[in-house]
């Protein structure tokens, strides 16, 4: 049965090449756009390098303080808050603390190199699983001694030292200070803004001593790691209980909001307590997808309906011989899905070309987009939805044709 449908579908496709072209063009380009979009989203929020333990981590990125006159101020938290308050929690197995990245310059042979640097504690290297190309991270001992050591990224190594095999033990100068390199890690794209940097330094070597500032807000991010995935919700409630008990920083404030959230929630955080970032991002993506899919779908429906008459004799004969409307609808839907899958195939090839092109442009350094199984599965799903959307209504209209009119119009 299916084989017959397949044969009919191919025959129909070949009969009117122009219309087939329009249909395939619409389907494949729609899919290309959606596939590139999903590849991007998948890379930005789904790629788990270097924080591979996301399923048992909670991210602390921001604190909002409400003032007496209802004004709010909000920003990343301070080292003191993380170290003193969050550090006292019982359930977390580890607490990674790192500053947001900031920029400075270094000059090699009068050539300027822009450098991003970030301060971390020792647990950061246990919680995150950076891929070390050589050497290793600095340890707690080195941090306590305030040793001038640094972990650098692969890009930094190539820019600063050039193409040499090993740089561990060599000195790198940044911000007018020399640091000894202890390890080189694989690059992180800047889209992972909580983890990106060119140079990672122990927090004790910073020019200003973070530990002295007793305010709650500063420039730091924290990542809480639970022992197991089951502990995550308990860890979150312990954190929330701690925030509720937190004394106000001064009399000017009346309420403090601070959350330890899973990665996605903290990544799309809008900085507004009342507006959920996840909802915002989802609705933007939803509207975009709807618009991108709606027009080609309408187009396809339009073309399909226009072509009913072309096949009216076929429908008439089948109906006359007793085929029910359901069988006909079934046949047309199968035909449409075959067409969409064909378009999907072309779409995947176009997407590979488009992604290759985007990667070669290098718009965001180290962000290499690729089609993976998640993206392909989503693409296939989109194909099926698209096929059903554009196939059901025309098929229903076709099956409703009267036998007499269908046979007569030829």
């Amino acid at each position: 049965m299916l084989k017959n449908y397949f044969k009919i579908a191919i025959a129909v496709l070949r009969r009117r090449k122009f219309f087939t072209f329009i249909s395939l063009f619409g389907i494949s380009f729609t899919l290309t756009i959606l596939l590139v979009l999903t590849a991007f989203i998948d890379k930005v929020v789904g790629d788990s390098y270097p924080d591979r333990k996301r399923d048992r981590s909670l991210y602390i990125s921001r604190m909002t303080e409400v003032m007496q006159q209802d004004g709010t101020s909000s920003g990343p938290v301070s080292f003191y808050f993380l170290d003193h308050f969050v550090g006292s929690l019982k359930i977390p197995a580890a607490l990674a603390i790192s500053s947001g990245f900031s920029g400075t310059n270094t000059y090699v042979n009068n050539k300027k190199i822009a450098v991003s640097y970030k301060y971390t504690n020792a647990a950061y290297w246990d919680v995150m699983e950076y891929d070390f190309i050589e050497g290793k991270a600095f340890n707690k001992q080195q941090i306590d001694n305030a040793d001038k050591v640094a972990v650098i990224s692969e890009d930094m190594k190539n820019q600063y030292f050039g193409d040499i095999p090993s740089v561990v033990g060599k000195y790198i100068e940044a911000d007018n200070v020399k640091y000894r390199v202890t390890g080189v890690v694989k690059n992180v794209p800047i889209t992972s803004y909580m983890l990106f940097s060119d140079i990672y330094l122990p927090y004790t070597v910073a020019k200003t001593d973070f530990r002295k500032d007793k305010g709650y807000r500063g420039g730091f991010f924290g990542v809480l790691l639970a022992k197991s995935t089951g502990d995550v919700s308990r860890m979150q409630s312990e954190f929330n209980a701690m925030v509720r008990r937190l004394p106000m920083e001064s009399k000017d404030y009346k309420k403090i909001y601070c959350h330890a959230d899973p990665y996605i929630v903290s990544y799309v955080d809008t900085g507004d307590e009342k507006r959920s970032g996840v909802m915002l991002v989802l609705s933007i993506i939803g509207i975009f997808t709807l618009l991108v899919m709606l027009l080609p779908t309408l187009n396809l429906v339009n073309i399909n309906i226009t072509r009913i008459m072309e096949r009216s004799s076929e429908i008439g004969v089948r109906k006359a011989f007793g085929a029910s409307s359901r069988t006909l609808v079934y046949q047309f839907i199968v035909e449409n899905i075959i067409l969409t899958l064909l378009g999907g195939f072309i779409g995947v090839i176009l997407s590979i070309i488009a992604l290759h092109f985007l990667n070669s442009l290098n718009l965001i350094p180290n962000l290499v987009l690729s089609i993976n199984f998640t993206v392909l599965a989503i693409g296939l799903l989109v194909c099926l939805i698209f096929g059903l959307l554009s196939g059901v209504y025309p098929a229903w209209r076709m099956s409703k044709l009267n036998v007499v009119t269908a046979l007569k119009s030829q």
Binding site: I22, F25, N176
Partner: protein, 396 residues
């Protein structure tokens, strides 16, 4: 004639409904794309308001242990002298960290005649700011040394804020309240041309400039340096960096070039624009092909009707005119519905954009859709005109 065409359209309302909804959604997509394009273009046309070439930005943080204002001042005055002494430096200005092309904003409200205006960008700058950035003064005067001790704190405002607060009246000499408490009064001493802080394609924000006083040096975080275009090179930059880093031992120092910052900030508007244009372009091509296909197919189906019209004396051009007018009427109907929705944007003042931008965008989208439909029905119409009555009627 139109009545007759309407009848023809009505007879095939189901199919035409789909065509119309396709045109309707294309109109909405085009409206969105054109709104953004017109908005960016209007901003692009406005002057930048300052010179960004050969301006370097130094970021630092005040890490002096002392809280004594005099010693902080003396410290930074010495640094200013040291930098100015370099032959490659033309001008230097200390200012708050909301410099052009940065993502830092300081906003506050001002009150004039009991009406509070929110979201005014508040800049703290020193007296050299005007020369360093080559800001254009439109009326009044720039800060002078004696301003530090005047009764009301002197401020300058930009032309956009002047327009918003005073309309066509001159701004110089007006007294404003900072915030809405009425305690902190400031006096406008001049108006400068608005600076496009967010790059070439951004709308200039309303802004107010106040003079850095002696206490400001505790928290100012940026130095803008106008360098000589001929003398300043990479070696000088390295030298300047060493000088700054050695002088401010406990501070992080970064030097950036305004030119690069401008490229970066433009990139953030251009990339989404290019993505949107690509997607919009693809949708339009898709719709055009679909329209073309449907119209073409319809004409093939209406050979009998057309043949009959030709047989009773209609000319080829009148046949093709009929078909083109039919599709134009369809387009008009969907454009009326589309415009009804689009006109809500200026009426409800969505996204706080001037109504002119929306209206221009609506007009452009209407023209575009008409053009598209016309082009798509041109060839099918021509084909219809070429139908021989004998051949067409013979087939029946």
């Amino acid at each position: 004639m139109f009545k007759h065409l309407f009848k023809l359209i009505w007879n095939k309302k189901k199919q035409n409904f789909l065509l119309m909804s396709e045109m309707f959604f294309s109109f909405l997509v085009l409206f969105a794309v054109f709104t953004l394009l017109v908005f960016y273009y209007q901003n692009y046309k406005k002057p930048m308001g300052f010179d960004y070439k050969d301006v370097w930005v130094v970021s630092y943080n005040n890490s002096l242990k002392t809280k004594n204002t005099d010693s902080v001042n003396a410290y930074y005055q010495t640094m200013r002298k040291n930098i100015t002494a370099m032959p490659e430096v033309n001008d230097i200005s200390f200012c708050s960290d909301n410099i052009p092309f940065s993502s830092n904003h300081w906003t506050e409200g001002v009150t004039y005649k009991k009406v509070e205006t929110d979201g005014v960008n508040w800049f703290t700058v020193d007296a050299n700011y005007k020369n360093t950035l080559n800001v254009k003064l439109l009326e009044g005067r720039w800060f002078e040394k004696s301003d530090v001790v005047s009764k009301y704190k002197p401020v300058l405002i930009n032309s956009d804020l002047k327009e918003k607060l005073f309309g066509a009246e001159p701004g110089t000499g007006k007294i404003l309240d900072r915030g809405d408490k009425g305690k902190d009064k400031v006096k406008v001493i001049g108006v400068i041309q608005s600076l496009k802080l967010g790059g070439d394609y951004a709308k200039p924000a309303i802004a107010l400039y106040n003079l850095a006083d002696t206490g400001s040096y505790h928290w100012l975080g940026k130095i803008m340096i106008k360098v000589s275009p001929t003398k300043a090179n990479a070696a000088f930059e390295a030298r300047l960096y060493k000088l700054l880093a050695n002088y401010m031992k406990d501070s992080n120092v970064e030097i950036e070039h305004m030119v690069n910052k401008r490229t970066e900030v433009n990139y953030f508007t251009l990339v989404p624009m290019i993505v949107l244009l690509t997607v919009g372009g693809f949708l339009v091509i898709n719709v055009a092909l679909g329209l073309f296909g449907v119209l073409w197919y319809n004409i093939n189906k209406r050979r009998g009707e057309i043949g009959l019209r030709r047989a009773v004396g209609a000319t080829g051009s009148s046949v093709s005119n009929q078909l083109i007018t039919e599709s134009m009427i369809l387009a008009t109907l969907s454009l009326i519905i589309g415009t009804f929705f689009a006109i809500q944007f200026p009426l409800l003042n969505v996204f706080d954009m001037p109504a002119g931008i929306y209206l221009t965008a609506i007009l452009l989208s209407i023209i575009f859709i008409y053009l598209l439909v016309f082009l798509c029905s041109l060839y099918p119409g021509k084909q219809a005109a070429a139908i021989y009555p004998a051949v067409a009627l013979h087939e029946e």
